[in-house]
Symmetry: C2
Subunit: 324 residues, 2 copies
């Protein structure tokens, strides 16, 4: 492999000059610059990134820690982050925390040791302290890690949109399957939904709302829906995630209930699967690309430090909800 010295020799300049040309330092005059560039070309020179990293104490990498890359929402986010990082010539180093606080801490540490441009973390359910000072910027996405800034969908606002939608369709007997209340997301979605319904409900036109807490899993949604539907059946069920909602769909099918004829169902996230199930699911699309962009911008210092970003989700109306 040719080094910067070989290029300098070939171009008849000093290594400093080659380095300046390569870093787009404007001070090098055109003729010299051309000579350097053609030497680079002729030799097929590529800078040694390890040497550069040692000198500059920074490497063109973004660290990413997700609870589980096979979760469709996280993999969508990872893809958007990778795309956004690539736009800035950065690669993404990926680690799974397996939703475990201890593993998460280790992964973030290991990532930081590689002096990346920054680290993005989608926090594990229970998140522990990092216990390491560092000047590598850290931002969390979707689920907050520690006291670090967070780029997330406006969960409360999205849930309120679902509430508006169902109310607008005439539903007055609604069940809400919440996500785990131990999580910020679970709480925000629930609160947004419940508060909006309470605001819409009035003595002459009351809404009866039942709330149950679930786990963001298909199986769990199915199981909870069975219980909810067995009793005083609602005309609509809003679930805190698409996975829960798809579980509801399964339960409805087993119980021979027609969706949306007998029951309207809405989710949250708009995972790929949401438009593949039967009927296709009405949901809130999370702005993954916007979240990725906000996170990267933060890491590159293009965004007010330490400030949260709340991006609006979009109501996607499909076949699973219907006027009563």
């Amino acid at each position: 492999m040719p080094t910067i010295i070989d290029v300098a020799k070939k171009a008849g300049v000093s290594v400093g000059t080659v380095s300046r040309v390569l870093s787009n330092n404007e001070t090098v005059k055109e003729p010299l610059k051309r000579r350097v560039l053609s030497a680079v070309d002729a030799l097929g020179y590529k800078p040694n990134l390890a040497a550069r990293a040692l000198r500059t104490n920074r490497v063109d990498v973004i660290g990413l820690v997700v609870p589980d890359i096979t979760n469709p929402f996280f993999s969508q986010l990872a893809k958007s982050i990778e795309t956004e990082a690539a736009l800035r010539g950065h690669m993404v180093m990926l680690a799974n925390s397996h939703d475990d606080a201890e593993t998460e801490r280790k992964q973030i540490s290991a990532l930081i040791d590689r002096i990346p441009r920054g680290v993005i973390v989608i926090a594990a359910a229970e998140t522990g302290p990092l216990g390491q000072e560092t000047d590598v910027p850290i931002i969390s996405v979707d689920r907050r890690f520690e006291g670090f800034p967070l780029a997330a969908t406006d969960h409360a606002g999205g849930s309120a949109k679902i509430a508006d939608h169902l109310f607008g369709l005439g539903h007055r007997k609604i069940a809400y399957i919440a996500g785990p209340q131990s999580t910020e997301v679970g709480r925000a979605r629930r609160q947004g939904f419940v508060q909006r319904i309470e605001a819409l409900s009035s003595p002459p036109d009351p809404v009866s709302l039942t709330t149950v807490e679930g786990q963001f899993h298909y199986e769990n949604g199915e199981q909870i829906a069975r219980e909810v539907l067995a009793q005083d059946r609602p005309t609509a069920i809003a679930a805190a995630s698409d996975q829960l909602a798809i579980g509801v769909l399964r339960a409805a099918r087993d119980l021979k209930l027609d969706v949306p004829g007998d029951l309207s169902v809405a989710g949250f996230d708009d995972i790929d699967l949401a438009s593949l199930v039967v009927p296709r699911l009405t949901t809130i699309r999370q702005p993954t690309e916007g979240l990725a962009k906000a996170a990267i911008q933060y890491l590159f210092g293009e965004r007010a430090a330490a400030e949260d970003a709340a991006l609006e989700g979009k109501l996607i109306i499909r076949g699973s909800t219907q006027a009563i």
Copy 2:
């Protein structure tokens, strides 16, 4: 950040000794070793990985290029690879090729520039030449990249298992929805299925087999299934992927056909979704963990160089297939 020099001073030894202790070099005697280790501890020393990389010309990273991380099979594979790499103290650098040969080439190049331990690539549909010599080992998984060794499921063998299964259930009128014949996977699966059916078919007990070529997408499976089912309806459809098979399930539902009553359906891959659709899908489970392990072993030189690995898939029988 303390450096190795600080540790050496604190322990009253030379930097060489510290380095040796840290690299588990056995030559350092117990008392010195202990002194070094406690100095490391006291200072919270962490080696500068960039410096180490510059010296050793290698960094504890595995590069991974996938066509699209949101594809459930690829994200499953990515997770297994990450786990396997972590066992060896390596992190994974991830890049999406977006199924584009040019992007793939660039990503692999960018990865190699970071002198990783090795690069694993799941090739894009059309794969182009790398055009760069390197001593970084490269192996492809699932879909072959260039002339590099491949770790993949025994696709033909897996398809043959599906053929045996359907034949065993008494199906004698079968349709096979193949994957793109421009891909090795598509060809291998088709060939395995067709050859086994031909072997099983005999003049006294003939099997009628129709084959159609598809694209590995849900939509495509649905569309092809409509055509296949509209004509001379088979009693079983085997699809070259779960995504295709799930498309078939949708089409069957729209046509009011009962699966598995009127029609048996089988897929290939065992993606998460396969066990979530109704009815749950009979399929071949790809040995993702085995593939990840084989790939990593190859990169670490624990496996015969330049030799392909073909791992057996496992037949998972669920509700979508039934005796005729």
